[in-house]
Structures are given as C-alpha cells and as structure tokens.
C-alpha cells in the first residue's frame, strides 16, 4: 500500500485544517492593517504595538503569569507528593478510593469545580483576587501533575531508594538525593503542563477571580463580547505561542527522558 495515497493526503489535510485553520486565520489577521477584522488591508504589526500600550491588558497579563507561576509550582509540589504516596504506600484499604479521588477532578466539569471553589471562598470569607485564582488553579492542575509523576514513579526501580537507605540516607534524603533527580523530567513536564493549563483557563478563573484581579482569558472573553478587535487577535497569537512552546518543551523533555531511560535499561539488560 502506498503511504501517501490521495485518500490519506485528503484525510490528513482535512483533519489538520479542521484543527488549525481557525488559529491560522487568527494569527494572520493579527497582522492585519485594517481595523475591520474581516477585511485584509496589508501587513502590519501595529496592533502588537497598540497592545503594549493597553494598561488593562498588560495588568491582566501580569496577573495571569503570576497565577500561572505560583499555582503550577504549588500544584507540582502537591501533585508530586500525592503521586509519591499513592505509588509507594502499597496496598492499603481505600487506596483505590484515594487514587480515584485524585483523578476525579480531571473529568469533573470545570463549571462544577469553579462553582464549588467559589462557594468555599465565600464560605470562609476569602476575598477573591490573585490568591483565590492561585488556589483554584492549584486544585485542578495538581491532578494533572500527579498523573504525569505517578506514571513515572510506577516504573521507578524501588531498589534504588532501598539502596539509598541502605547507604545511610534518611527517607527524606533518599527522596531528595535519589528519587527526585531521577524523576525530575516528569516533575518538570508536570510543571509545564500545569503552567499552560493555568494560563488558558477561563471557566474556573471567572468563578474565582474578583474585581481586583482579572486574568487574560477573562479579559479577552469580555472584550470579545463587545466585538473582536485586531488587538485581541494579536494577544491571542502571543498566547498561542506561549502555550505551544510550553507543550512542546514538556513533551520534548519527557520524550528525551524516556529515551534516556530506555537506553539505560537496555544498557543494564546487556550487563
């Protein structure tokens, strides 16, 4: 069978067009000279320049980045801890329940997660702002981190930790000096994943953001309701770029790590 039959090529083109055409149009129009979004009037980067003058957007961008950095870091710490305990604790009663509960927020509708967090924050009287968004994003990003890290930990050779203990490490030292450096690629890609998730989250953020702090996706969403401006296109293009870089580097890091692991294992098997 020919690999590039006309059928395959058509299917491929259609599939990718479906996925990426809207984004490509958005990116192209972000360089449009005209203020009218639908009319092409020549190439220009003026909307990017204008964007840099827009105080409200810049503030929102700053909030978004702060939230993403803090929440992904917190989520990485908590998610790694959760993964470690669930993988290491062995069989205890209720283990399935616990691991199920860690992964449940992955499939939980975001609206529900957002709403329940909103109710919680109101209940404990926490003013909505950067802190509440950070907490909310930590909550849902943590599950993703824990999935990524635990899949690495499952294949982690337990005897390495035992060897560390055997050589005089306390359990914490064994984790810090042996386990963590070895699973670091998974932890880093977990962090990148959490970072990008936080960056483009709209639903949960709109539940938990307050008037004092608005994230970029919220800002864009509300601006679009007043009509799409080329400025928004420019902003979205920047976000697409950031997310793309994040996702690609996350997958590159984990791919490289698994390649390296494979190599090491093959080398070990040969021995």
């Amino acid at each position: 069978m020919k690999r590039f039959s006309w059928f395959n090529i058509t299917a491929l083109t259609l599939g990718f067009a479906f996925l990426y055409l809207p984004m490509i149009i958005l990116v192209i129009y972000s360089f449009n000279e005209s203020k009218l979004v639908t009319v092409w009037a020549g190439f220009s980067t003026k909307w990017y320049a204008e964007l840099m003058q827009n105080e409200a957007f810049l503030n929102a961008a700053w909030v978004t980045i702060k939230v993403a950095v803090f929440s992904s870091t917190l989520a990485t710490v908590l998610g790694t801890m959760a993964a470690y305990v669930l993988v290491r604790a062995g069989r205890f009663s209720g283990r399935t329940l616990f691991s199920g509960m860690i992964y449940a927020p992955l499939v939980m509708p975001e609206v529900i997660t957002g709403l329940s967090l909103l109710l919680l924050f109101i209940g404990i009287g926490l003013d909505r702002g950067v802190l509440t968004i950070v907490l909310a994003h930590t909550t849902f990003a943590m599950c993703y981190v824990s999935v990524v890290v635990s899949s690495r930990l499952v294949s982690f050779d337990r005897s390495l930790e035992e060897a560390a203990l055997d050589l005089g490490c306390s359990p914490w030292q064994a984790f810090r000096l042996v386990t963590l450096p070895i699973i670091a690629p998974a932890v880093i890609s977990g962090w990148l994943l959490a970072f990008t998730l936080s960056l483009d989250d709209l639903v949960i953020a709109s539940f938990t953001a307050g008037p004092s702090a608005t994230t970029l996706p919220i800002k864009i969403f509300s601006a679009v309701r007043l009509g799409v401006s080329p400025e928004i296109n420019a902003l979205s293009t920047i976000m697409i770029a950031i997310v793309t870089v994040g996702v690609i580097s996350a997958s590159l890091i984990s791919k490289q790590a698994s390649l390296k692991q494979q190599r090491d294992e093959q080398a070990a098997a040969r021995g």
């Binding site: 060897a163 560390a164 203990l165 055997d166 005089g168 190599r263 021995g271």
Partner: protein, 374 residues
C-alpha cells in the same frame, strides 16, 4: 582442600554469634516465606544461602538489611535486637541483585554516596573511594555514568559501593548471577580476597551451588522457608543430612531400602533377588526401618568384569554422557534402577572400552555412600 588454621567458630561454644535469627517467621498475607527459622552466623564468616527459587533467601537478606520486619521472632546483630532499627541505622550494607546503581551519579559518586552520609571529611572520602576503585580495578571508569560501563564493571561498582563504608556485615544477593563463567570465577576469588583483607562478614545468596562451594565457610540449604542443613561445603557434600540436600548439591544416586544392622555395617535390602547393599553409618536405624542409600556417581566404579568389592551390581549401559574431563555412565540394573557412575577421562576417547548396551558391573566400597532416614 587444605585450609590453613581451621576457621570454625560455630564449633566453639565460647564464641558469640554476630547474627542471630531467633524463631523468625515472616508472612506475606497468609503465605509463610520464612518458617520459624533459628540460625547463628559468626563474625568473618562467608555464609552462603542456597535453595530453589522462592524458598525465602532474598526475604532472609531483606530482613537483615532492614527492608522487611519479621512477623514473629527476633533478629539480632552483635547482640542488639534489630526489629525496630531502620535500614539507614544498621552497620549492614547490601549489594542488590539488580545492582541498584544510581543512574544520575558517576561511578565515583556512587561509591562515595554512603560515605557522604557520614561525618567523614572530604579528603578521607576521596582516599576511601580511590581505595575502593583500586580494589575493584575501576580507576579508569570513575567519571563515567553507570550506563556507560559493562555489566561486569557495574557489578564491581555495586560491590565497591557496598564495601566502601566497611560494613560489619555485607549482604550479597546473587552478586555474580549475570556474569559469564570466567568472570564469575575471577570475581569469586576477588570476593574471598576482599573478605580476607577486610574481615567483613558475608552473607551471600546464590543459585549456583558450585559458587557456594567455592566461596563459603558454611553453606545453608533452604527449602520452603526453612534451613534444611547448615554445614561446611565438604560436609554438606560428603555428609548430607537428607535426600533433599544430597539431591540439591551435586549429582547423586539414591536407593531406597530396609536397613539391618550387622556388626559395624548396615545392610540394606533394596530389591528382591539382589544382594544387600553394605554401608556404614553412625545414625541409628531400627531393624527393618526404611532408609535411603545415597552415593555420588564419582564414588561408583564401572568395569566390564566383576570386581572384588563389598558392593557390586550387574547391569547394562543405557547412556553415556561425555563431559570432556569426565564421563557419566547411566547403568540400568535388572530391577529397573538406574545407577550413575562417573570416571575421569584419563584416556583418549577412541580407546575407551565401554560402550552402549555393554554388560558391566558397578561397584563401590562400604564407606562410599551415606545412609539417610529422610
């Protein structure tokens, strides 16, 4: 094998053992992995654990290392109860069967790892690591990562790492399993050499009985969580306490019969119409008790004519296994028993007089075999 001054602390009641297993039982759920085991191991011993897969050897080691706790009973090292002592607080190092080298650290750092956990200063650590590298002939590889060296070298790194802290007790779980025969023999001698130099006590698990015989001061043969016999390699070979041990260590012919004491000899009636086998034993057998006569193939002679020996049985050659330095003849007796006889091939193949289907006599002296009650 001539040993220099006899090393036998287990025979000396004034010696206190380094390791004591006191009625140790280990269960995993309902499964009993170690069954009421009591055993002493002495300082400077090279104690080998031998037994079929799943008999509990690794479990025993892991309990010594502190990775498992006994379900019942007590393990003490130097008289101190170890049940509550975590692995990092024990003067015990384990060389893992999988080596468990840290993949993110260089060979040098792997060996230094344990030393860095002590309050040793940097120069002393450097000196010690250099010494270990020299001992295991790894100087050239110090800067490499574990995946950049060969399997045999990796095994030596694991050994160096476990030796670096000069533990009182070193546990080796099938340390040479992955090596080819030549490298394995070299390393066996290396191990014995290290043991001689450092005075460390070794407990070694092995599947390879030849290895156990070569390196061990005592061999323990295990089965299903119990130690069946503990003895020096020659004693366990020459005087097994059961057919299980006789069969597990080396090749053996086992003939079942009924024992009768006649003077200082024991006669074994083993088949209708066949002369009794005459053996000698220090064990007490009651009149007519069922017993097993075990004799190693190399103690059975084979000849075309009836020899003048206390025991001579007539049969036919069924099979010949030529192993280079020796040949094993499988001789079928009229009773259906098959007796293995081994001879050294001092003559060239072409001149051997015995061949398939030949009528032959197998013979042995009255002290060549052992009489076992189980």
């Amino acid at each position: 094998m001539a040993q220099q001054p006899v090393f036998a602390p287990w025979d000396d009641p004034t010696q206190t053992p380094l390791i004591t297993f006191q009625n140790v039982t280990k269960r995993f759920g309902d499964f009993v992995a170690i069954d009421d085991l009591t055993q002493h191991i002495y300082e400077r011993e090279f104690f080998a654990l031998l037994g079929p897969s799943g008999c509990g050897k690794t479990t025993m080691m892991r309990m010594l290392g502190g990775f498992e706790t006994p379900s019942e009973g007590k393990i003490s090292i130097s008289g101190r109860d170890m049940n509550k002592v975590p692995p990092n607080k024990r003067a015990v190092n384990m060389m893992f069967q999988s080596y468990a080298l840290f993949p993110h650290l260089s060979i040098y750092e792997n060996i230094a790892f344990g030393l860095r956990r002590t309050d040793m200063d940097k120069d002393a650590i450097d000196a010690r690591v250099a010494e270990m590298l020299k001992l295991t002939r790894l100087e050239k590889f110090a800067r490499r990562k574990p995946h950049q060296i060969s399997g045999g070298q990796r095994q030596r790194v694991a050994l160096a790492r476990s030796l670096a802290k000069a533990p009182k007790l070193l546990l080796l779980d099938e340390p040479l399993g992955a090596l080819d025969k030549k490298l394995r023999q070299d390393t066996q001698f290396e191990l014995m050499d290290i043991q001689e130099k450092t005075g460390t006590t070794f407990v070694i698990v092995t599947h390879d009985q030849e290895e156990a015989m070569t390196v061990a001061s005592r061999v323990a043969v295990m089965d299903e969580g119990r130690i069946i016999q503990v003895a020096t390699p020659d004693a366990i070979y020459e005087a097994p306490n059961s057919t299980y041990v006789a069969d597990f260590i080396g090749d053996v012919n086992i003939i079942e019969g009924k024992a009768t004491r006649k003077g200082d000899k024991t006669h074994i009636a083993w088949a209708e119409g066949q002369p009794d086998i005459i053996g000698s034993t220090t064990r007490d057998f009651s009149e007519g008790q069922t017993c097993h006569f075990a004799i190693r193939p190399e103690k059975v002679a084979i000849s075309p004519d009836k020899p003048d020996a206390p025991n001579a049985l007539h049969g036919k050659i069924l099979d010949i296994a030529y192993l280079g330095n020796i040949s094993t003849y499988h001789v079928e007796l009229p009773t259906g028993h098959i007796i293995k006889a081994q001879t050294a091939n001092t003559r060239r193949l072409a001149r051997r007089s015995l061949t398939w289907e030949d009528d032959v006599w197998v013979s042995f002296t009255d002290t060549a075999g052992v009489l076992l009650d189980r």
